[in-house]
């Protein structure tokens, strides 16, 4: 695999967007950056700018107002991109599925590559998800030669 392709696996920069999450999954996502978990070991940086991000981590349920934002952010990311839906809310809407202002999980708006169950998802699970996502990307890259 060429250096350029390899570096795509080695340097996933992430953008975290909180669609109506209860904060539980957010803080666990943030915790991944901190010393005990330190996902920078995998070359991951939280860039906070869709134009630089490779991985979009979405926590929480989608509502009509944030759906627009979510779509925009997704569109502004460069390709190839990965989407990770974190927590029961991100996957399906979780406990809030039937709340009046909830549309459901992230996959209602944008395609999701990896689902991370849990309420909240554990930091280890989020790391697993990134690894799984990168595995998927690697497959695509190898396939495309």
């Amino acid at each position: 695999m060429s250096f350029l392709k390899k570096s795509q696996i080695k340097s996933p920069w992430l953008l975290h967007f909180d669609c109506g999450s209860c904060n539980g999954c957010d803080i666990e996502t943030l915790a991944c950056l901190t010393p005990v978990y330190d996902i920078e070991r995998f070359g991951i940086v939280n860039v906070g700018n869709p134009r630089h991000a490779d991985v979009l981590i979405v926590t929480g349920t989608v509502n009509p107002r944030n759906a627009v934002i979510l779509k925009n952010l997704y569109d502004q990311m460069p390709t190839p991109k990965l989407v990770i839906a974190v927590g029961a809310c991100g996957c399906t809407g979780g406990v809030f599925r039937e709340a009046p202002n909830v549309l459901g999980g992230v996959d209602k708006i944008i395609p999701v590559d990896v689902y991370v169950p849990g309420c909240p998802a554990k930091p280890e699970a989020i790391m697993d998800a990134v690894v799984a996502g990168l595995g998927k990307l690697k497959g695509i890259l190898e396939g495309s030669k």
């Binding site: 209860c22 904060n23 539980g24 803080i27 943030l30 906070g48 934002i69 979780g94 809030f96």
Partner: protein
Amino acid sequence: MARTVIPFGPQHPVLPEPIHLSLVVEDEKVVEALPTLGYVHRGLEMLAVKRDFNQMIQIVERVCGICSMIHSLCYCQGIEEMMGIEVPRRARFLRTVWSELHRMHSHLLWLGLFADSFGFEALFMQLWKIREKVMDLNEGTTGNRVIVSVNVIGGVRVDLDESQIRWIKDTLVDVEAGIRKLQSTIMNDGTVCRRTKGVGILTKQAAYDLGAAGPTLRGSGVAQDMRQLKYAGFDEIPFEPVVETAGDSWARGNVRFRECLQSIDLVRQALDKLEPGELAAKVKGKPDGEVVTRVEQPRGECLYYLKGNGDKFMQRVRIRTPTFANIPPLAAMLPGLDFADVPVVVLSIDPCISCTER
């Protein structure tokens, strides 16, 4: 001079949660700031018509993950008051333990984010490193790091055994040492003070009139803490509300820092008062009537207005959270600030949009 309009948020790296501020700045001084909410609105008060009053515990726990335990505590207390249930003494102290552990992790989390808002990455890392120990306490005792889910109507559903109590106490010694080491950085470091002192001043009168709550209110010199209402175990645990008088971001930060230390002390006291006994009282019947109940969350006074009508579904669950009350003071503080201070001041009220919008 031409003005710059900045769409600040909803997605913005210094904002942990989505909120939008339409900022108008002139030479990087804010002249106008209008907030937009609704990006995390779920309408979960409304779920009361679909989930019975027991299931609502799990719903209100997820009003917000950071002080989820205190939300369910408030809700359960309300229902207990409505139904006239006496909570066993052991349960009350256990509730105190977990609610103070929550306060601790919440304040450490916030202090970290606050440090991040003025670009002090190492401090953020250090605080979150310490916080992990508290998170371990949560997970080790309840089975979940964040949403501990210990409350049931009438008491708690998880107990602590002796070894766990000892473990908590030992860990707290470490945590306290770690926090105290950072005291001088948070309170006296030159660059930190330059970014926080005198920034976003809320006078005592303004704080009171605008309805500020929690550390935002106490940072402006008003000694008000809902734990003085003596709910859970606080009737037997003496404590003094932490107050600062400067009313700026620095003062709000310090209130939280000192409350962190205070919480360690409260947990210790509560653990010492634990006596063998029942975990939960028996519950019969359906809630009927109307109550207003208040607790102190890390971010301040939280008020639940509950109305039942003898059905298993509540007629109304109205949740007023501290950040909701702190948004107007924020809106009043923003104009006149340097643009660079906007994140600092926004973070200084510890915005929790999740519960603001529910």
